[in-house]
Symmetry: C2
């Protein structure tokens, strides 16, 4: 799937533009067709949002961004494309005419996925020359961050097409959910719609404002939904007595007259105005752009929390990062120089009240550089499992320059000494844009028997790798500042 080289996106609104960003940031070239005059400007804003989010989100370097081209028509967008995602307005006849054109000019094997949330694939694929490669691939906003994509085939969609699409989406860091049956609105929107109608009734009946209704979710059940759906939540609420017991109890109250099920509120002018006014009050001074960035910052933080737990959407992110890492060719290091082991962007949550990176994050980045060195010399999970590891004994950290959020920094490593158990090294962090030295760290590391809790000799493999580096690094100049302590003050 890494072999996708050109993708066509038809329609560049909030959803289509989100797709553009996700493909580009995965290193894939995108041809966009959108007849709106401001299509490029809109998509550019979304790509910037996505870049900002990915730089915060990913612990590994993302692929080089793909190239975006604007196509003059559908034909030139889809010719030679490896994959096509259609995100035109929700109108059956419009979508049908667009799909017919895509179908006519795209390579016959190329998958065509529609982002529709409301139209059935069986209806959309009627009349296509190769309907077997058409399906719905329904994403969620923001498309570049939320992993979910619902795959729903129509009567003529082949099983093979669905599994190929699932693989492609997975390679983009997404979670494809392949529907067993074709239904209107698929799964998620069925739930969202039911919720939304109820919310509209609460406003219509003057029970609560839009802000109160939103608060009733985001301070409560919404926090759980980031991790677990309602069935799992209710399983827990049921406790040890089990889901069956819980449901038997729950049964009767389900029929209490709690919801305004039977009607749909009329979205007339006055009602629309009421909601719009309440929504303005709720947003206060915050613009759409600011709300988007708040949303994305939160999503990034939540995804990282879940990744640390290896749970749900965080598991998808972990797999994605591992895939990106594995895709990088393990470059041969030039041992005659300090080793370029680590690079990163400075993330927003590393900044302190002084407006620049806080001190312990320097040590975090130096620690990750040490980990990169250990990985390079052969310390992996299997090695750790033998009860051996490498601990830091001492660190001497010198702060020379501040560094701000979004800057890119690199760390190189020079060996200063080696014996059978210990390695002494120097990490130097520089700012990429001008190669200024930001900080240095001298460290003494010791190989340990983790069960006995004491120093032990490096294994033969690790020792050999380290010797090889040390032999080369003995020829490097050792900076004067190494080896000295923090001086006494005489003032």
């Amino acid at each position: 799937m890494q072999s996708l080289s050109k993708v066509a996106i038809i329609g560049g609104g909030v959803i289509g533009g989100g797709w553009v960003a996700r493909f580009l940031l995965n290193g894939i070239d995108v041809a966009l067709y959108d007849p709106a005059p401001d299509a490029l400007a809109k998509v550019t804003g979304l790509i910037e949002n996505a870049e900002r989010a990915y730089d915060e989100l990913l612990g590994v370097n993302r692929p080089l961004t793909g190239n975006l081209s604007l196509a003059a028509d559908i034909e030139s967008a889809v010719r030679g494309a490896d994959f096509i995602q259609e995100s035109a307005p929700e109108n059956l006849s419009l979508k049908r005419s667009i799909l017919a054109e895509i179908d006519r000019f795209a390579p016959h094997q190329t998958l065509i996925c529609s982002s529709t949330s409301g139209l059935r694939p069986t209806e959309l694929q009627k009349g296509l020359s190769h309907p077997d490669r058409f399906m719905v691939g329904h994403p969620f906003n923001p498309v570049y961050l939320l992993p979910l994509v619902e795959i729903c085939g129509g009567e003529q969609t082949s099983a093979d097409s669905k599994s190929r699409a699932a693989e492609i989406y997975q390679s983009l860091g997404m979670k494809p959910l392949v529907l067993a049956k074709e239904i209107d609105a698929f799964i998620a929107d069925r739930l969202l719609e039911a919720y939304w109608r109820e919310a509209l009734w609460l406003v219509k009946d003057g029970i609560a404002t839009v802000e109160e209704i939103d608060d009733a979710i985001r301070y409560g059940a919404g926090l759980r939904w980031a991790m677990m759906g309602t069935f799992q939540v209710y399983r827990i609420a049921g406790g040890e007595a089990g889901m069956q017991h819980f449901l038997s109890q729950f049964g009767p109250s389900l029929k209490w007259p709690w919801t305004k099920l039977m009607e749909v509120p009329e979205l007339d002018g006055d009602f629309i105005k009421l909601i719009a006014r309440q929504s303005d009050d709720q947003a206060g001074e915050l613009s759409i752009k600011e709300l988007e960035q708040i949303r994305d910052t939160g999503l990034v933080g939540i995804l990282k929390v879940l990744q640390k737990m290896d749970w749900g959407a965080g598991q998808v992110l972990g797999d994605y990062e591992a895939m990106l890492k594995a895709a990088k060719p393990a470059s041969e290091l030039d041992l005659r120089k300090p080793l370029p082991l680590f690079q990163t962007n400075i993330k927003s949550d590393w900044i302190d009240y002084n407006g620049h990176m806080t001190e312990h994050r320097y040590l975090q980045l130096f620690g990750e550089t040490t980990d990169a060195l250990l990985t390079y010399i052969g310390m992996d999970a299997a090695y750790l499992a033998t009860g051996q590891s490498v601990y830091t004994l001492e660190t001497h950290l010198r702060h020379l320059k501040e560094v701000a959020q979004g800057e890119r920094v690199s760390v190189t490593t020079q060996l200063l000494g080696l014996d059978s158990k210990r390695v002494r090294l120097l990490h130097v962090m520089t700012l990429d844009r001008n190669e200024e030295v930001l900080a240095t760290t001298e460290q003494m590391l010791m190989h340990v028997d983790t069960k006995a809790g004491r120093g032990s000799d490096f294994s033969a493999g690790l020792a050999a790798s380290l010797s090889q580096i040390w032999t080369a690094h003995q020829n490097l100049q050792v900076p004067d500042f190494t080896g000295s302590g923090i001086r006494a003050l005489t003032g």
Copy 2:
């Protein structure tokens, strides 16, 4: 509100027990009445969960846990209570008889709140001698972590009672939402019910399994709901065109036949069994206890992410922490000894692949100790706003012992030197349970003019405080290891 000294909780199930934990962990004594023989065991498990979560969640020390007593009957539970929370089973006549007994024996001014999610307060307060102090205070599971509590008064509830209850809940770190009108199921459960019925239909109709339905939320919209409710989400989706435009477009599709609105699925034996079986499959090997801990770990992480953003539920947490901090008397330090400036529990996300605290987290705790020193000598937000701060120039960190999750550690600080611009100090981290030294850090700090980006003299106030400490600390012994660097290896 800090003056609550005894609270009565009637009913110790998942909800009542959650209340017990929230009050106890806020330092308030609780008298619990629950006729079940295993009531204490159940509540104890919940308290343990809550303690684990709070130790992870809070950046400040929580109050000393209150005392829990089991009451033999309702009368002894509520006599002399400052606040009463009733969480008995959802049965109108049962609740009415319990409330009558509470009303009879509780002090007449004491608020009585019911956790009911399905019964109207007007119905529940009928026949009480002091119905004005009764209302619904409806929380969400886990009660000790989720901030939301819906306050809904009945026809006889006084406005004053509602605002007193809101204040009490707020003092517990909660977000009270006071309903303008009394309706069945209040706000959140109306939304949750609508969603839940739809979910049941999806299973009943064989469209998706419970796991797929849960996945359709937690990989997508659920991640957003932790931050923003649907109105705010749709505002963003509508983009610059505004909510009014968005709603006008959305209107028609709301009437598409997407949801199974008109009926309620029959929760008969076979259907219950089907859901229970699918729920077992979904949970796999995970016990309820394990699921609870996964949920709580995730909630803690998400709340901390939102706190960092000062957004939604994280804003509530921030206010709560500030309140806890302010409630602590600023103790006078004994300057003749190293200063006991910082204590913490070791949190789970500070642990690395070696199973103990990772190196940069040591520096984080030492950095927080430095911040505590700076606060002590008078560096506050107003001082920072004048364009002055204190930066770290150098750090020499020595790791002596590993430390595991959940351990409690303390850091003391000794001044090693002082001049007009710089202070040299030594932090020592010890394990509380045996006073073993875990790590030491020697640091050189410099007072800076942040606009000019260079060293400058301490202000008179800071200089005076530091001198006072330095005068006393010159009499302390200076450990031998200070001042020296990392030695060269000769191997």
